[in-house]
Amino acid sequence: MKKNVVTAVLMTLVTTVLLGIIYPLVVTGIARVLFPHKADGQLIVVNGKVLGSRLIGQAFSGPGYFHSRPSAAGNGYDASNSNGSQLGPTNRQLIDRVKGDVATLQAENPNVPVPIDLVTASASGLDPHITPAAAAFQLPRVAKVRGTNEGDLRSLVAKHTEGRQFGFLGESRVNVLELNLELDEKFPAQRHARAE
């Protein structure tokens, strides 16, 4: 018994050093050498300024941007406060929120059913993606505000659409932040739209 007590204490300390300190530091070191950009979160840096991460969504509300999904992370897309809405399927708050968002969205695209991801909060609150359906739904609005033709915009959306990984894993998705950043670069009419 006494011997096992001593062993329990020593075993805890030694394995903490090995598995709790040496192991993660070794992995950090190797990751830094093999995948430095990915290990640091794939930050998008323009002129020395961090604009975001390609994996972390941001909120967009201007009509000239593609909008992300609703977010329950902090005040919206708070990447130090990841969370979903935690609303159950029969909760009135959920139903009312969705109805409100549907009404707003259908004002710009009457009688077209709204793709479900565009009116539902993601699990992380940081979802960087929308479905191609949600992008297609918003495309006429963005094209109009930016004064560009829909065909050009469609090919830009296609450029930022990732298909299923290896052809069958996961779902097709559009990276909203990267798409919007390139929108500003290619069709910079947006500044006026926001001032409206």
């Binding site: 805890t12 070794v26 190797i30 994996l55 109805k99 059913p113 992380s124």
Partner: protein, 599 residues
Amino acid sequence: MTANGWLQITFFLVLIFAVTKPMGVFMAHVFSRERTFMDPVLRPMERLLYHITGVDENHEMRWTEYAVSMLLFSVVSMLLLYLIERLQGFLPFNPQQLGAVSPPHLAFNTAASFTTNTNWQNYSGEATMSYFTQMAGLAYHNFVSAAVGIALAIAFIRGIARRQMETIGNFWVDLVRSCLWVLLPFCIVGALLLVSQGVVQNLRPYDKAALVEPFQVQKVGPDGKPMVGPDGKPVMDTVAEQTIAQGPVASQEIIKEFGTNGGGFFNANSAHPFENPTPFSNLIELFSIFTIGAGLTYTLGRMTGSERHGWAVWAAMAILFLAGVTAAYWAEAHGNPLLPGVDQRAGALQPGGNMEGKEVRLGIANSSLFATVTTDASCGAINGWHDSYTPLGGMVPLVNIMLSEVIFGGVGAGMYGILIYVVLAVFIAGLMVGRTPEYLGKKIEAYDVKMAMLVALVFPLVILIFTGISVVKGFGTSSISNPGPHGLTQILYAFTSQAGNNGSAFGGLTGNTPWYNTSGGITMLVGRFFMIIPMLGIAGNLARKKYVPPSLGTFPVTTPLFTVLLMGVILIVGALTFFPALSLGPILEHLLMSAGKVF
């Protein structure tokens, strides 16, 4: 449901089938102390560890000493975790300068949670835990609580395999060999694979990004309420910056799944893009959750000399897995009938379905699959919030945990869990034919069945008592966030998850209260250790028995008939115990939802 969705689910099951034998053989070698290809590197490390800690690797333990050693190790390592949490403000690797985890009952709940392999989280990782606490406190327990589970399963298997012996192995040796041979090498490779997909791994302070489109929010006053100016208009604040939480995530992510722990580095767990950025990272995580549990079925067969018995157990698990994933996928793909004006149909441009609390890159198939897998095993990681699942979709994970998580199961815990059911199954078969039941040449007698029943009874007892108290007392019901039958499900899920050492949650329930922290902590400790001790008692008792060669009257445990009987026992014991509670929670909610009722 789509063909592609089913392709992904089938592909996953095929992978698990393929890994079962190699993993099982490897573990059989490791714990029988036969040579493996890793010995040249690991053997010296192992010897060094024993030298420092004073372990005699040739010493064999009776089941009582094995249990005492396991308890001592758990107590000491739990205390250390509590101290790390409370002292993290003074410890290194804390770039956000986070203070002590408080109040103390939260630190207690978390320490109990990680020691018992539960990983129930009443805190938000990125806002509460320093990098040091995550690495040396939480991820460390992800390793050792898993290693303890594997050790216990191996001890039980030895109990079945050994004849007229008093001992079932050495706890310290099993613990160390689990860590060094089984867990560590897989994790180093797996962590780097995850980084290649975009899981972060760094020690830098949280990054600040300048938002492309800043936005306005109403300011919150010191009283926690939205602020209103003297003119009655809301006081607004501009959000122009995004704080991006970082950390040594990949190294923790992989053991979180491989050790079926489930405690997310971030609050959003495997839904967070930094924990699970791509469909491939999602597959790696799913694969990691089932690998050891599946492998142990083969180890069981191998070490007891009946590989076909191992496969018969595997088949029962695989069938129950498919039943669960089918139900969850069906329910989630159907979506929520209460939402008008939305398009929930699957098509070329979207997966459709109930997307509240799910991520676009993962969609419906991968989210339903993950929810099923994480609760078949006692993992508890989530890639979508179960609270926002449809009533029946959310019932699948709940039922999986109620069946004691024996569908491949938590590492080790799933194996000794299903062996309890096996004991009951052969006992019932014995009753039906009127013979003393035998299991792999061992007579199953009164003591074994009593202990098995103890395990089978403690579990629902602790769940139903605490749920009962919580739904009639204000300190319980005030934490509910979703009204109606869903509120009962939230509480029922919380205690089921903690008693089953799962750790997933209906996350809307406010868990960080004195009542839930304390009752939850106790539930987790009971759910772990009150299962383990009777189970080790059976193991010790079986090891002592002499071998009885099979005769014509022996019920064979290698046939499809056995598989069916085993599934029957699992379903009857698990489901009937909880059916009344389920009918008042998710089943009622489903009926009301279909009738258009909103709460």
